[in-house]
């Protein structure tokens, strides 16, 4: 990183751009050459380690073709004996750090994944690329300089997004608050402190989970144009900024929004909901968010460029294979079936399950991430990028199959709820079969009382028909209305969160999953939360 920082300091912007963002100018052939070569390097490392020998199981692939023929596809279970116990000596390379993600119910509490020093080096460059893409209008257009202020609204380490904060060039930029200080604070404290500092010192870049970027906007809207004078007196440097913001919001006849206070040069968001909230985030922050796709095991997979359209795959962190969606479904129905995979240069537009092999000494080999992605085009014509473009659809197991007609993803349902114009706290949905199979949506509305479950069902149903053609056909062919809605009592999700906090649950388990929650979760949300709300109401009356 010191190297990129130094190049930036010396004003060698072209070299910095080429080093960090140059991958978008690779031809597909060059992209594949990099993939092939780094895979062969990785195979050498795997041959020499216990994990590699275990996974490859005696095969000696010497080429990409042989690798695809001889090495089986894997899942986390295959790595669990090595990674859950952090057996560094058994891995292809010694890890520089470990990161985790919460496991799904019935699996492991956490799924640990190591990151090597060489991978970190790649990640550093890619973080710069994300930053540059978020603030540029053309190639070689670097709009960031030393001491620019960055607010970081993602999870803390050892979550993967926390690792990114550590890797981020904090010696070059000014983090609000500084990374060392931030890591000791809770998420709430960190954000609060960050905003206080941003009010006084300014803000150039905001990196956040999309939900966080939206929530901050909502808080601003709820707060209206009220200002706490006492608090302001404590930070006089914030007054001019606030005054400018208030004037701008008054002139626009709307509540004060972050866009009135800061002219961001870059906004980077992460999360399945990024595309759902895209418009809302742009309205709130005044700039288009730049999305990227990654996860704990693969770290970074693809990122958008400055047209904010499809994401471009990254050649040097993972080796990519793709299982066509039909093959993926088939293999999940029949566990003995080994689906065929395609390489990036063999793809056609369509839906695929992602399979990765870590490069630079990472542990995963032909690992099924369980991510369903859509290849939107084989190249980005607008920006002349010769690499296939993707969007993330959902996790393959986070889909609800309705009568074999359609598979609704978390993203589709979420988008339908948003498009229906409902004001809601949160939601969860699952497939229930009571006679006919149906999609059952449990939703907690904000300021409930004016909308009935039937009305919500009707609104969401109409939006689902627009978003998902097979869903619409389901009704026209079978006259089935497969959506049922239950309105959850007020504070149901809040009480669930408190219960989880009390039981010491991890940050990512404070809210129930959006898709296919357990019976116990549904029971709590519907009954226990309902009873608690009722009890609280009676106490107030008494």
């Amino acid at each position: 990183m010191a190297e990129i920082v130094e190049l930036l300091r010396q004003g060698r912007d072209e070299e910095v751009w080429q080093k960090c963002c140059g991958f978008i100018d690779l031809s597909l052939q060059d992209f594949m050459k990099i993939q092939d070569r780094l895979l062969l390097e990785q195979l050498e490392l795997l041959r020499r380690c216990e994990l590699g020998r275990y996974i490859i199981n005696g095969a000696k692939p010497g080429s990409v073709e042989e690798f695809r023929e001889q090495v089986p596809l894997t899942v986390y279970d295959d790595y669990a004996p090595f990674l859950l116990n952090k057996r560094a000596n058994a891995l292809p390379k010694k890890p520089a750090l470990w990161q985790y993600t919460s496991g799904k119910s019935g699996e492991y509490p956490f799924r640990w994944a190591p990151v090597t020093a060489e991978q970190l080096k790649e990640i550093e460059e890619l973080l710069f690329a994300l930053l540059f893409f978020s603030g540029c209008k053309r190639r070689n257009d670097i709009n960031f300089r030393e001491d620019d202020k960055i607010l970081y609204g993602m999870a803390p380490p050892p979550y993967a997004t926390g690792t990114m904060a550590r890797v981020f060039p904090y010696q070059l930029f000014k983090f609000l608050p500084p990374v060392d200080e931030a890591e000791k604070q809770s998420f709430e404290e960190r954000m609060q402190r960050g905003f206080d500092l941003a009010l006084s010192e300014g803000l150039d870049v905001f990196l956040a989970l999309s939900s966080v970027a939206v929530a901050i906007g909502d808080r601003f809207r709820q707060q209206g144009n009220k200002t706490d004078l006492k608090a302001l007196l404590k930070k006089p440097r914030a007054i001019p900024r606030l005054a400018k913001g208030l004037i701008k919001s008054k002139l626009a006849h709307r509540p004060l929004l972050p866009r009135d206070l800061w002219s961001l040069r870059g906004l980077i968001t992460f999360g399945i909901d990024s595309s759902i909230y895209k418009e809302k985030i742009r309205d709130t922050w005044g700039v288009e968010p730049l999305e990227f796709h990654g996860c704990t095991e693969a770290v970074l997979i693809a990122m958008q460029t400055w047209d904010h359209e499809g994401m471009t795959f990254i050649p040097s962190l993972n080796f990519f294979e793709f299982i066509p969606e039909e093959e993926s479904i088939k293999s999940r129905e029949d566990f003995t079936y080994q689906p065929e995979t395609l390489l990036l240069d063999e793809l056609k537009p369509g839906n695929y399950e992602l399979v990765i092999t870590s490069l630079h000494g990472g542990p995963f080999v032909r690992y099924r991430l369980g991510h369903l992605v859509k290849i939107t085009s084989l190249r980005n014509e607008k920006l002349n990028i010769d690499i296939p473009q993707m969007v993330f659809l959902s996790r393959v197991d986070d889909q609800i199959d309705i009568a074999g007609f359609t598979r609704l993803s978390e993203k589709t349902i979420w988008q339908a709820i948003e498009n229906a114009g409902l004001s809601y706290e949160d939601w969860t949905a699952r497939k229930e079969v009571n006679g006919d199979p149906r999609l059952h949506l449990y939703i907690e509305l904000k300021n409930n009382g004016h909308v009935t479950a039937g009305q919500v069902a009707s609104l969401v149903h109409e939006e689902l028909k627009i978003l998902d053609a097979p869903y619409a056909e389901l009704e026209s062919f079978t006259h089935l209305h497969p959506l049922e809605v239950t309105l959850l009592p007020e504070n149901a999700f809040q009480l669930y969160k408190r219960r989880q906090q009390a039981s010491g649950a991890d940050l990512t388990q404070l809210t129930p999953p959006h898709i296919n929650p357990a019976d116990e979760t549904i029971n709590f949300l519907v009954k226990a939360a309902g009873a608690a709300t009722e009890e609280a109401g009676q106490m107030v009356e008494a």
């Binding site: 080429q18 140059g22 100018d25 990099i34 780094l38």
Partner: protein, 691 residues
């Protein structure tokens, strides 16, 4: 004119020269801001010169009114340059600063700053009133901010070269400031001593540009110095001659004077070329010092090596001057291996006596080789971590480059293909190579390319001649052996059996002539039939060995798959795979593929001690690729080839010759205990459907 006027005059001329030299490099932001500083400093020096020369005493106040604004502008412009050098935006401070300069200029020209001013004996007497404190405060702020930026930059930079550059700027800035405040010492007040500081700063910046490539201006500086020196010398010479002649011939008419001036101009013009060469030589020696002679050698390289045909001599002529002229730690020439296409360091020249155990070698498919081939430009080591096409380099490949302290890789191209690589190590001083040096190396590599190509061609011709000789012998031997084998086969089996059948026919004839068909005659006929059947089978086997019918009838895939059976028979685990839609190729190509695979299979069976082997066919639109891989013990390719040539075992070479004759290509990759991979590829012209 007093001596004090000379100081600002010299600084003015120096700044002006630097400004002219900077103009061609204005595309970089830092250079533009530096030019702005030079402009401000030149104006400041010029105003001071005009004031101290005191040609027009009534203008003293006017020039003095310009001075405070010009001084602050110079300091501010230098601070602006420091910010640009540190890659920071100009910032609000600089904008406010420029606004203050404009305000100061307005107030000064409006008569609100300088109360009075006059120059006596070169010493300025003036009164700035309370404005002095205002100007001092602005200057102090700018000075402090500049010092802060430079110190911060110096401390934060891990790069030694960068720290040196910053160190020079810091020193220059400090001297500028110290002399700038000389005006506060009562004894020196009014003297243009501050310009000494300014001049020292300009000289230090010029040195940093030259020595540490501060602004990539070295080449411009070297060229510019020649022409600016020439201009100064000629102007002085011309004026001096004119002055002398006018002293002697005071009563010349205007026409006479004009003619004299023209005569002098012609004289000066005649002196231009010899003088320019002299100055260029002098400046080059000044710039390059003890490496000058070696540089001259490099520049005249093409003359020296154009007739040298020994590759070792050519390498020596290139590598020695490079190591000496560039003060490089080492330099090496890499050439491709004929069989594998890998580039090996065949000639190495080191500066000291130290040797390294690491040998530089690039595999034929190394991205560096691909990049040098396609780009045809010099590759600097630091760019290897920058260029996206080189992302596929392995960690251990990069480690070798670092261990060898490699700094530059220059492609040696001949007829559009990469015929060699010139690898140059880092300089002993650690200073990076300048653009000019890289250009010099590239020029030299281009000039050497022809000589290298000639020498290599001669070398390959010798090897080729030997190879052809051996091949001819081999062909003749093979033919003889094949004839012998067929003759022995037919003699030992078919001929014997047919003789027996003939004998039996005679017996049957005898029996039949004795009359009637009896059991004995029938038995003899049965035996004869069996012998003829056996002979037919043996004949068929011999014919099949000469050309496998499976190849013609069932196609290449089937025939190749069949060829693995003999490996399976000796316990080698075999795998056959194919990608792409298969199609038929011209028969001679299919036979060649079949024979090469047969040869490879024979090698695996006889020598490789492999437990696994695989055969992969890839049918592409433009080519057929066949890969035969084994996990056996491998072999030393170059040694095997050398011994093959010397002793006449031409299996591998035979394969290559056969395939290349049909427009194909064979690549062999092997390593001790790492198995062998033979890749065979044929371009496809007009495929026919597979039966």
């Amino acid at each position: 004119m007093t001596i004090w006027a000379f100081i600002p005059l010299i600084t003015f001329l120096t700044y002006l020269a630097l400004l002219i030299l900077t103009v061609p490099s204005l595309e970089r932001r830092v250079n533009r801001v530096f030019a702005l500083y030079l402009g401000a400093a030149a104006i400041w020096s010029f105003a001071s010169f005009m004031l101290h020369i005191n040609l027009f005493p009534e203008q003293a106040l006017y020039w003095n009114e310009l001075l405070p604004a010009a001084l602050v502008w110079t300091l501010l412009a230098y601070y602006h340059f420091i910010r640009a050098y540190c890659n920071k935006r100009a910032g609000m401070g600089v904008v406010i600063g420029y606004a203050l300069v404009a305000l100061l200029l307005g107030l000064s020209l409006g008569g609100f700053i300088v109360k009075f001013a006059h120059v006596e004996n070169g010493v300025l007497h003036h009164d700035l009133g309370v404005s002095l404190y205002f100007i001092g405060a602005i200057a102090l702020t700018v000075v402090g901010a500049g010092l802060y930026q430079l110190i911060r930059r110096y401390r934060s930079s891990p790069d030694a070269i960068e720290r040196n550059r910053t160190g020079y700027l810091l020193a220059g800035w400090s001297i500028l400031v110290i002399f700038g405040y000389s005006n506060l010492v009562p004894a020196w007040a009014g003297l243009p001593l501050d310009h000494f500081g300014s001049l020292a700063n300009a000289v230090i910046v010029a040195y940093a540009i030259h020595r540490y490539q501060l602004l990539d201006l070295k080449r411009v500086l070297r060229r510019g110095l020649v022409y600016s020196s020439l201009t100064i010398i000629f102007t002085a010479q011309y004026l001096l001659l004119l002055l002398i002649l006018q002293e002697f011939f005071t009563d010349w008419t205007a026409q006479g004077g004009l003619a004299l001036a023209a005569l002098l101009a012609v004289l000066v013009a005649l002196l231009f070329n010899p003088l320019r060469n002299l100055i260029q030589n002098w400046i080059d020696r000044l710039f390059y010092r003890e490496t000058y002679d070696y540089r001259q050698m490099l520049l005249s390289l093409s003359d020296q090596i154009s007739n040298v045909l020994d590759l070792g001599d050519v390498a020596q002529s290139i590598l020695v001057p490079i190591v000496e002229a560039m003060h490089a730690k080492q330099a090496a020439l890499l050439f491709p291996q004929i069989e594998s296409g890998d580039f090996d360091a065949q000639f190495v020249q080191q500066a000291g006596k130290g040797t390294t155990s690491v040998k530089l070698r690039f595999a034929g498919d190394n991205p560096i080789v691909t990049w040098l081939t396609t780009e045809g430009k010099t590759l600097r080591r630091e760019l290897i971590d920058v260029i996206p096409q080189l992302k596929g380099l392995w960690e251990k490949e990069k480690a070798v480059l670092d261990e060898l302290e490699l700094a530059l890789l220059c492609p040696i191209r001949s007829k559009g293909r990469l015929s060699g690589i010139l690898a140059v190590g880092a300089k002993k001083s650690g200073i990076p190579y300048s653009d000019e040096e890289i250009d010099l190396l590239m020029t030299m590599a281009n000039e050497a390319a022809v000589a290298i190509e000639n020498a290599r061609m001669l070398d390959s011709l010798r090897i080729e001649q030997l190879r052809v000789k051996r091949l001819l012998e081999q062909v003749s031997n093979t033919q003889e052996e094949e004839r012998k084998r067929i003759s022995a086969d037919l003699h030992d089996s078919v001929a014997q059996w047919l003789a027996a059948a003939s004998y039996r026919a005679q017996t049957v004839n005898a029996l039949l002539s004795r009359g009637g068909v009896n059991d004995k005659a029938r038995d003899e006929l049965d035996a004869m039939e069996s012998t003829i059947d056996k002979s037919l089978k043996e004949l068929r086997r011999v014919v099949i060995a000469l050309r496998p019918p499976a190849l013609e009838e069932l196609g290449l895939n089937h025939a190749l798959k069949q060829s693995l059976e003999e490996l399976q028979a000796v316990g080698v685990e075999c795998r056959f795979s194919r990608t792409g839609e298969s199609f038929r190729l011209p028969l001679d190509v299919e036979i060649a593929v079949y024979r090469v695979v047969q040869e490879a299979v024979n090698n695996i069976r006889k020598h490789a001690k492999a437990t696994q082997a695989s055969l992969h066919l890839q049918y592409r639109e433009d080519r057929l690729q066949v890969q035969v891989r084994d996990n056996g013990r491998g072999f030393d390719l170059s040694r095997t080839l050398d011994s093959a040539i010397s002793v006449g075992h031409m299996g591998l070479l035979g394969m290559k010759e056969r395939v290349e004759a049909l427009g194909g290509d064979v690549k062999i990759r092997t390593s001790q205990d790492g198995g062998t991979l033979i890749t065979l590829s044929f371009p496809i012209q007009s495929p026919v459907e597979e039966k």
